[in-house]
Amino acid sequence: MYGAPLTKLWNADPARPGRVCYPPPQMSIGSSPPRRDGLSKLTGRALYADDLRPHRCLYGATVRSARAHARIVSIERDPAFDWTGVTVATAADLPGPNVVTLMTDDQPILADGVVRHAEEPIALVAAPTRERALAAVRAVRVTYEDLPALLDPLEAEGSPVQIFGNDNVFKRIHLVHGEPSRVTGYLIRGRYRTGLQEQLYIEPQSMIAAPRPDGGVTVTGSMQCPYYVDRAVKRMLGHDRVNVVQSVTGGGFGGKEEYPSMLACHAVLLSRLTGLPVKITYRRDEDLRATTKRHPAVIDLSTLVSPQGELLELHARIWMDGGAYHTLSTVVLSRAVLHAGGPYRCPHVNILGTVVATNTPPNGAFRGFGAPQAQWAMERHLDRIARVLGMDPLAVRRANLYREGDVTATGQTLHDPGAFAVLDAAEAAAKAPFRRKTLRPGVTGASMKAGRGVALAWHGCGFTGNGEAKIRGKVGLEVHGNELLVLSSSTDIGQGTETIFPMIVGDTLGIAQDRVTVAQPDTGRVPDSGPTVASRTAMVVGGTCFKAATELRAKLEAKVGPGSFDEQLLRWRNLGLADPTHESTYEVDASVVWDPDTYQGDAYPTFGWSCVIVDLRVDEDTGEVLYDRVVTATDVGRALAPVLTSGQIEGGTLQALGWATAEEVVLGANGAMRNDRLTNYIIPTALDAPEMVTCLVEIPFAGGPFGAKGIGEIPMDAPAAAVAQAIEQAVGIVLDSLPMTPERVLAAMGAR
């Protein structure tokens, strides 16, 4: 029956049933309690940033550049406008360095003298109402002296236009592994492209800065990483009387990783100048034009393959467009390079990646973080190999998928790789019949051609190499009477952190999970657990929750001897001791060795694996793709709360289908997004979404809590390539560029 939950747990290895260990019934891990914030969200009581309105709150708005690259000649106020009650801020008003603190110091909080991309913030206004603030923005006149603009990333390196350093290269990474092949084979080359994609959280960016009685400031808003914001604001102000609070956040997907730092600096600056609370909420069109997107990429692959389709050599050249400022581009490129070979063994690998600067709005974090782009290319390339050799696309994959003990391009030996397990699970689930979706009114069935596509992916869980050693993320636990409070800066942006942390702590202590709650992230109160990124929250911070609970137990035991947690607590209190607290730091596995200079070693603590099988139909009249069903099988290590786990996978899968066939960012002549509305930047609706069958494969990771791996990003990796293969099967066209919009599908069919 449709409508029944379609999530399945898949025993990864029937021959070794012990590997999938379901929890005993009294444990909460493996069950799906209703999410903690569910009721408040469902009843409209949950307060998101724009729902908050502090007393005497002003509204802030931003004056943005109309030019791609220009000198600012003047910033003037229109004398005809009534400026009473309106405050204007420019770079001259900043109390400290004009830098958005992140990885490099290249991005100003407000443009000073030069704009390097359209939509760059130049000035800010604050006014008592939103309408007045927007009117004031229009009354600020900026005059420019245009400079030559660099918009094409492939021209960046040798360009006379200098945006970053002397060659516009943010980062170059070269990864070489293994010896060139001694046998000859077929040399197969291809070029693959991916486009920009907008995260499109449904809650636009929003931030409030409010003065504190001690002369400091409290920042409250929609964000993924409170401590990024904390560091950025403290540096701008030059003092530490700052705390940053995450309000209920309406989606992030990476789009609220780094951008909120700039927005917070803006709100704090206006609040400082006016002495009042200031709220800045972006309108959707502004959010689309101004905020970060997924990096577009051009990827050339050239492989030497045996007649049986085995990879002998892989040479890759990756170019990514970082936009005008660095943001996180280096790390995005790194992940692209490390995932470029896909989940496939290859004895000789040579990958050169470059991310460059252009005069376009900066690109940044987006679910998958470079890996989806790289794996799109590799999966399409395997299809090309299949075409050239006359093989079945799946047979080419089977010939190369990683097996136990294989060594990756960084020299990392794989244990328990899940590639075949997810393939088997997906194939088994895809055998079940499904209903073709009814056609939309006006679409006749006559011109619909059906196709099926399969693709696989892997995804490194958590930070690359020794990233965690630098972060040393912390989690605190406090006992309050009968209840426990978890203190962590990990944010729940929809994934369910607030729900799973108590399950981990409760099960570790042997108490009911509903006695444990997660404190609202507030940098004045919670320790830095590291950012909410890189599929690390459940695995790394969840692991630290496990460690904190274990250590708390040990602390009690040392004082009052063995017993259940409640017995120990009672004895502890009988000694007249204050309620116990404990803080733990994530312990980095010392056996993980990584050399960031050679890019050799253990790239990630572990990998997730996924296989996607798409059934779709292509309308030969319109070029439109109609999704019937998508089967995904994902190795999640351990599904802590299966409904939340599969919910992440389903949401990510649809986001990937949007990237595949619907979502196209069109840049105007000034390099900024021209289709800045939801009427022309199209994301999938309930009608567009396929029926989804979500198989959770559990190959436990010893380093994760109860075996869990990170799963936030892997759903983004494989679907687009499966779609391309299905379209190829349906109508015989080969598409190697994303997005595969109806226009492109039609054009390719016309050229058949």
Partner: protein, 153 residues
């Protein structure tokens, strides 16, 4: 201009320019912030409320248009209890970040009142005006398809 209407069963009276959006009146004047603004142009459905039972996007409705009408927002969907749609969404995991959720619930409640046993396709059509970026809709559709079954209605 003064506009009088009934909001969640209570008569209300607001004084605003006549073209003020209903969404702003709800959020700013009445402090009912459960209706969200995702786009402000009728595309995302996060601002969905019901006017005389019909789901509409309140960002497109000038307040003058609801004079004398019955407006229901998410805050009034179930009163003190929980509506079957809300219960099913909780049970099936239909809400993640939750920003689209109030709007989705309003559309779903309207559908189920008209058609207590909708087909999956009917559910998809009814929810097509509500964008959700988190769930892929799978669990939302499961929840709405099961809402009345689960509560034994």
């Amino acid at each position: 201009m003064i506009t009088r209407f009934v909001c969640n069963g209570q008569p209300v009276e607001v004084e605003t320019p006549p073209m003020t959006r209903l969404l702003d009146v709800l959020r700013e004047e009445l402090r009912l912030t459960g209706s969200k603004e995702g786009c402000g142009e009728g595309e995302c459905g996060a601002c969905t409320v019901r006017i005389d039972g019909v789901p509409v996007m309140s960002c497109l409705v000038p307040v003058a248009q609801v004079a004398g009408c019955n407006v229901q927002t998410i805050e009034g969907l179930a009163g003190a209890l929980v509506h079957p749609v809300q219960a099913a969404m909780l049970e099936h995991g239909g809400a993640q970040c939750g920003i689209c959720t109030p709007g989705l619930c309003m559309s779903a409640a309207a559908l189920l009142e008209e058609n207590p046993h909708p087909s999956v396709e009917q559910v998809r059509v009814a929810l097509a005006g509500n964008l959700c970026r988190c769930t892929g809709y799978q669990k939302v559709i499961e929840a709405v398809s099961h809402a009345l079954v689960d509560t034994g209605e």
